[in-house]
């Protein structure tokens, strides 16, 4: 691009040098052997290089500001005009001095003038191209390419030496190009995108450009000294077509802009509406608040119906919130009273609407404002508030305006709905995070390993249906040979169950250290829990004391599902049935009447299986329960295995029975095997 400019300048200098050399040669009657066409050709190359330069320089510039483009054209013209004027002044001041008739100076200056004019013409040509091709379609591009090609080709037409006055070919070509130029001059879409002020500036700039064109034409083709009647031969098709095209397009532009002036405010409003609409729809991404959305809505709606003032009243519970524009809080109250008393109301019904979503136009008496339009604002099918638009003149509403306001209201509603959804999503995310923390905390309450010595091995397993659960197991070594093991289940599931489960853990850890008999333990736990469990909640528990020296179990059952004991001697399992009552069901001293303490001796390879009802009551698709019998049989079948293997066998069998790993209740298993 730069190279083409430098090349143009070099070519131009060579042309000048050549002409001056030729002049010197002519004076001294010498023949340089330079053919006549060479300077002309070089000049043509100069034009071509300029076309190339501006083609890229102007069309590539990113700015889509038309006024800037016109200003640039004007500035280029101004420089060319100042230089041309300067040359004329120079001539005039020289008057009759020797320099006045110095052919070298004359040649150089006229060349400079001519080339500056051609710079202006070519740059304007490319600027006009940009304007014509704004929002182009295929057809326009096709015609423009044809036109541009012909114009560029016409650069070299002057090698033929034809003139407009004398040659039919010149005339023919000129007419063809001119017709194309006139056709293309109809493309003035850019005018529509100017605002009122820009239109005036554009008119001014283009008028000035038109004046330049006349002036430069005069410079080139009317001899400076002689009278106007003499017009030199119009010998350059390229420059001539440029003049013609530029003039046509300038005149067309000025006229079109002039005729567009009155409607430009309408177009500007439409543009503003579109922009506001976009703002409303993008407000969530740009992080604007709900209030800002309502402000945009109010502003846009007021513009639409030329309202003089307005406000939005949002009902938030008992209180109302106001978003005002050009009106005070006191005035609002006054107008609200007038609205209530006014009898002159017009309903604008929406199709299929309920009464609530109708817009009402109310005429006010004895007020600055003649009418008020009340528009309900609906978000997620409920009315959240009303928009009031005040007008100082009557009868200024039409269907189209109302439709636009509707669109604004709808878009604002969608934006606010999106806001709410986003907030909800964030809140849910936080809850999820909190639940995860609760899960970790609860996980820490449930021991991974249980207290035991060499005389028995024990393996626990638990799984909560949701993040947190209500199942519980724990153990404690009371003395060298005495161990406490507990399993429990809180009624219900989820968060409330998890809270009660952690209370149970606290109660167990406090009471167990007192080394109580199982029934005493349950009695005290019942008293403690009676203080903190809500009325419909209860906890079931099985409490075991294992004496490894006496090889004896002592146990009590607080309404928990009966535990399973496998006797290796008989190779049979059975449930430990005894009387019991869930904790928190009977909240007084009489609780102890409803529980039993039992004890039994154990032998080597006997197994104690503790579990929660999440296992025995697990259902498959047809509604069958896993059941006590199945569990018993499974234990008998796997009795030779280690506690961990027994646990795995039972859980796998449970999953197979339910045909899923996602059970509806929490489920827990503790397997204890005596050595």
């Amino acid at each position: 691009m730069r190279a083409s400019l430098i090349a143009a300048i070099v070519v131009w200098l060579i042309v000048n040098l050549l002409e001056i050399l030729q002049l010197i040669a002519a004076r001294s009657s010498m023949d340089l052997g330079v053919p006549d066409y060479l300077p002309v050709l070089l000049m043509d190359i100069f034009y071509l290089l300029l076309v190339i330069f501006y083609r890229y320089n102007i069309t590539r510039s990113e700015s889509s500001n038309f006024v800037d483009l016109l200003w640039r054209v004007f500035a280029t013209g101004l420089i060319a005009a100042i230089v041309a004027l300067g040359i004329q002044l120079f001539y005039n001041s020289l008057d009759d001095s020797i320099l006045r008739f110095n052919v070298f100076v004359n040649t150089f200056l006229s060349n400079l003038d001519k080339s500056l004019i051609s710079v202006f013409l070519i740059s304007t040509f490319m600027a006009w191209k940009k304007l014509i091709l704004y929002q182009k379609n295929k057809q326009v591009v096709f015609y423009w390419k044809a036109f541009e090609t012909m114009v560029i080709a016409s650069i070299f037409f002057d090698l033929t030496g034809f003139t407009l006055q004398n040659d039919l070919a010149f005339q023919g070509l000129y007419i063809v190009i001119t017709i194309l130029a006139i056709g293309l001059s109809g493309n003035l879409k850019w005018v529509a995108y100017l605002n009122f002020r820009q239109k005036w500036i554009s008119i001014l700039l283009i008028l000035l450009v038109t004046i330049y064109l006349f002036y430069f034409f005069d410079e080139l083709y009317v001899a400076p000294i002689t009278a106007l009647s003499y017009v030199s031969d119009l010998d350059n098709l390229f420059l001539l077509t440029l003049f013609t095209f530029l003039l046509f397009y300038s005149v067309f532009s000025v006229l079109v802009i002039l005729f567009n002036l009155p409607t430009s405010s309408v177009f500007e409003r439409k543009m503003e509406e579109a922009i506001n609409f976009q703002r409303l729809s993008q407000s969530v991404q740009t992080g604007e608040s709900e209030d800002e959305i309502f402000e945009i809505l109010l502003q846009s709606s007021m513009n639409t119906i030329y309202a003089d003032a307005g406000w939005i009243e949002l009902t938030e519970g008992e209180e109302s919130k106001f978003i005002r524009k050009d009106i005070s809080r006191v005035q609002i109250s006054a107008i609200q009273e007038k609205i209530i008393s006014s009898k002159n109301r017009t309903l604008f019904r929406k199709p299929f609407s309920t009464n609530e979503s109708d817009r009402v136009l109310i005429h006010l008496k004895k007020s600055n404002y003649k009418t008020v339009l009340v528009v309900p604002l609906t978000v997620q099918t409920s009315v959240v508030g009303f928009m009031y638009l005040l007008n100082e003149i009557k009868d200024n509403h039409n269907r189209e305006m109302l439709n636009i306001i509707d669109t604004f209201v709808n878009q604002a509603s969608i934006s606010i709905e999106n806001f709410k959804l986003l907030e909800e999503a964030i809140r849910n995310e936080r809850y999820k995070e909190e639940l995860n923390i609760a899960k970790k905390v609860q996980r820490a309450l449930i021991p991974d390993t249980l207290a035991h010595d060499d005389s028995f091995s024990i393996h626990p397993f638990t799984h909560a249906a949701t993040e947190v659960g209500g199942d519980y197991y724990d153990s404690y070594q009371l003395s060298e040979n005495l161990f406490s093991v507990v399993i429990g289940d809180v009624s219900g599931k989820g968060t409330s169950a998890a809270f009660h489960m952690s209370q149970m853990k606290g109660i167990y850890q406090s009471l167990v250290q007192m080394n109580l008999a199982p029934d005493e333990f349950l009695l005290r736990a019942n008293i403690s829990l009676s203080q903190c469990l809500e009325k419909t909640s209860f906890i079931t528990l099985s409490y075991f004391l294992i004496d490894t020296q006496l090889k004896q179990l002592q146990f009590a059952r607080a309404g928990h599902c009966p535990s399973l004991v496998y006797r290796n001697a008989e190779q049979k399992a059975s449930y430990l049935q005894n009387k019991g009552l869930g904790l928190g069901i009977l909240r007084n001293e009489s609780y102890k009447d409803h529980i039993d303490v039992n004890q039994l001796k154990y032998q080597k390879d006997d197994i104690l299986l503790l579990f929660t009802d999440g296992i025995s009551e697990a259902q498959n698709k047809t509604g069958d329960e896993f059941g006590f019998d199945r569990l018993k049989k499974l234990l008998e079948e796997n009795a030779t295995q280690s506690p961990k293997e027994i646990q795995k066998a039972i859980i796998n069998s449970l999953y197979a029975f339910c045909e899923t790993r996602h059970l509806e209740d929490d489920y827990t298993l503790v397997v204890l095997k005596f050595n």
Binding site: D489, S491, G492, K493, K535, T536, S537, F538, T540, A558, G559, H560, C561, P562, K579, G580, L581, G582, I585, L586, R587, H594, I595, E625
Partner: protein, 114 residues
């Protein structure tokens, strides 16, 4: 799903429960029993012949009336429990605190003692 039907007989109020008494339906069951307790009838029978399943939440409803029953001397009788449901009641120990009868006739016979 649960279907609860209340019927005023001569000398007792009959509440028939059908379906599953789980966490979601326990509230309805509680509401109906609450109304019965607030009413004048001193004998309340719960017909559980068609009660298919009861969860801990359902048990919690019955459990919460135990105090009311003794304090207000209500003749509160549950009858018609399936083996499965009865087992759930007795594991928890509620059979010790609530009057549970096999059939309607047995339930009605409790009226004689009053």
């Amino acid at each position: 799903m649960i279907e609860i039907h209340t019927q005023n007989e001569n000398n007792y109020l009959l509440i028939s429960v059908k379906g599953d008494a789980d966490a979601s339906s326990a509230i309805h069951l509680d509401k109906v029993i609450r109304q019965a307790f607030d009413g004048p009838q001193k004998s309340i029978f719960i017909d559980c012949t068609k009660l298919n399943y009861i969860s801990s939440a359902g048990l919690g409803v019955f459990m919460s009336y135990i105090e009311d029953i003794t304090q207000n001397q209500i003749n509160f009788v549950i009858y018609g429990l399936s083996e499965k449901v009865l087992n759930v009641f007795s594991i928890l120990g509620l059979d010790q605190l609530l009057t549970i009868k096999k059939t309607k006739e047995e339930a009605i016979s409790t009226l004689d003692g009053l």
